[in-house]
């Protein structure tokens, strides 16, 4: 069976714990557009390493706490 890897994230959870930070606020913090944050959160876009670090820094967390690389079976 073919195995595929996928980048998943906990941005929604981190936003909730950051006093329900809005996507727009996060976008402004990391210098991206709200559209990009929406796409990342929905798993439609894998951010660059730099943006992933910026997002993790915005929450004061480590990158591996926010993003994970998981194997998915199809």
């Amino acid at each position: 069976m073919a195995k595929k890897f996928q980048i998943t994230n906990n941005i929604r959870k981190f936003r909730f714990f950051a006093n329900e930070m809005t996507q727009q606020q996060l976008a402004e913090k990391v210098g991206a557009s709200r559209q990009t944050i929406v796409a990342i959160e929905a798993g439609k876009y894998s951010p660059s390493l730099e943006l992933a670090f910026r997002i993790a820094h915005a929450f004061g967390a480590k990158i591996e706490e926010v993003f994970s690389y998981e194997e998915k079976e199809y």
Binding site: G31, A32, S33, R34, Q35, T36, A39, K44, Y45, S46
Partner: protein, 168 residues
Amino acid sequence: MSYQEKRTIVSIIIGVLILAAYCIYSYGKYQSGDIAPDDMKTWSGIILVFIAIGVISGIVIQIIFHILLSIGIAIQEKVKNDRCDDKEIAKTIDAEMVTDEMDKLIELKSMRVGFITAGIGFVSALLTQILNYSPAVMLNVMFITFSAGSLLHGLTQIYFYKRGITNG
């Protein structure tokens, strides 16, 4: 819908209108016998005029679109919060129109689709000469496929914004 998507849709509409106008105008002229199929000078002149119209109207309509969008955002902000000042409105407009790495990746990937279409058009245009068609056919095939490449570029952008994009 994001600013980039709206801007792309406006570009596609302008492109379709210019291409349709060119097809109607040139077909009408050709049917009435005003232009001969081997009259390269006239065909080149018409194509150049339509390229100029496309560039100028594209710039003007994008400026108008930008102004209208800014007004729309300002009105929305005023409705949401009556006491918001100009600085806050300007900040919201800037945030709405920011271009980041995802936009650049989408631009690059969709541009490739546009270039491939234009490349196929160029080869097809050369083939028309091998198959003994008139030079006007070559010019028209080139112009139409280059325009189609530009439209496909826009459509691919919309597709990537809707479906998402990966770095692979």
